[in-house]
């Protein structure tokens, strides 16, 4: 259940940034999470309410931009959609690839008051 660590990481960022901006509370938080980032969305939602209790995020609306995986084959330069981290190049079958998108795990914006 590393999603709890993730949720607490999000809380820490929100607390720091809200303080920096001299704001009191977050009303909306926008996250960017890739499908290859290793985060189970259901688990994150499961731990979310306990993690944000008594923090600036307690009453915040959470929005997650889910970013789909895209890889680029190192052998033939083909760009392809990735559902799994072990997907190979659909054109040449190579396992050597760079992951262009899908590993994101970011706090994008905070709407504060």
């Amino acid at each position: 259940m590393h999603e709890l660590s993730i949720a607490l990481g999000i809380v820490k960022i929100a607390e720091d940034e809200t303080k920096k901006a001299n704001a009191k509370q977050v009303i909306k938080i926008e996250l960017e999470i890739g499908t290859l980032a290793g985060v189970e969305f259901e688990s994150l939602n499961f731990v979310w309410n306990s993690a944000i209790k008594d923090t600036v995020l307690e009453f915040a609306k959470k929005e997650i931009d889910i970013i789909k995986g895209i890889g680029k084959c190192i052998d033939c330069d083909t760009e392809f959609d990735m559902d799994n981290i072990y997907d190979c190049c659909p054109k040449c079958g190579s396992n050597f690839k760079g992951i262009l998108k899908g590993k994101e795990l970011r706090v994008k914006t905070l709407e504060v008051i």
Partner: protein, 284 residues
């Protein structure tokens, strides 16, 4: 909320001890969090209370000014910063650090013990043991006269870089050494948490399924070395080692394999050869 034990009080951290040190009480009533975290401050209590001043009266919402802050910050940034700090420390002191990961029961501690026994006269070793509970593994290593620190993560399912940071301070590692960090037995969570290691070693045993690398791809994707343990059991178990390797290579084509038995010692020489070469590289 406490990320370590999930107890909801936000005050209970991991316990980091050398064998023989008195165990601190794990009290949920009087969480005082007295141990120091050099790399970061752990002031859950204050953080949790300073918002209580704010009354949630929405009658005057017209007075509030909404502001959108662009953050673009990595959620694991804190862990990565401390991992980078650990890595810098290791590089400066010529310490070759290994993060050993696997499911529970694949033989991490047995491989570690055998390696320490066979090489301790040639290489200076230090060990950090990660488990949810007990000093058992640290006591096994301590019995070999190797400096060791045990991290008990409580309900936590993986080691994080701040725990290693603190354990490393306790160990007082000499220059030109090898540090073995045995992570919590878990093939999922530790994959996301960089500890500052030089190389990550994933261990799988012949009693596990050959498709494990694609069932738990993140760990194999982030590792550099794959040790296949318990090869002495091959006559008795139904596993195709080549198939296992192919699956692992599909996830991570750069993986380097060692097939060993920590019990009989078979195959350990190749692993030792690699370790020695790495430690020389560090010294060089």
């Amino acid at each position: 909320m406490c990320g370590t034990c999930g107890c909801g009080t936000g005050k209970n951290g991991p316990i980091i001890l050398k064998p023989g040190e008195e165990k601190l009480e794990h009290s949920h009533d009087e969480h005082t969090h007295e141990h120091s975290h050099e790399g970061h401050t752990h002031t859950h209590e204050n953080e949790h209370h300073h918002h209580n001043d704010h009354s949630h009266s929405h009658d005057h919402s017209h007075e509030h000014k909404h502001k959108v802050l662009t953050i673009e910050r990595d959620i694991l940034q804190n862990n990565q910063l401390l991992a980078a700090r650990n890595r810098g420390y290791f590089e400066a002191k010529n310490i070759f650090a290994l993060n050993m990961v696997s499911s529970p029961g694949s033989g991490k501690t047995s491989i570690l013990e055998r390696t320490l026994i066979d090489l301790k006269h040639e290489i200076s070793f230090y060990v950090i043991e990660g488990d949810q509970q007990t000093m058992n593994d640290a006591n096994r290593i301590d019995a070999l006269n190797i400096p060791v620190v045990q991290i008990n993560t409580g309900k936590g399912c993986h080691l994080e870089s701040d725990m290693v940071f603190e354990a490393v301070r306790k160990l007082e590692i000499k220059d030109n050494s090898i540090l073995m960090i045995e992570n919590v037995g878990n093939l999922v969570c530790p994959s996301m948490f960089d500890l500052g290691e030089s190389k990550r070693v994933v261990i799988i045993s012949t009693t596990e399924g050959e498709d494990k690398p694609i069932k738990y791809p993140d760990m194999f994707h982030t590792s550099d070395i794959c040790i296949i343990n318990k090869i002495d059991l091959l006559p008795y178990v139904k596993i195709d080692v080549q198939k296992l390797k192919n699956y692992a290579l599909q996830v991570n084509p750069n993986l380097q394999f060692f097939e060993v038995s920590a019990t009989t010692g078979e195959g350990m020489e190749a692993w030792y050869g690699w370790l020695k070469a790495q430690s020389k590289k560090v010294k060089g």
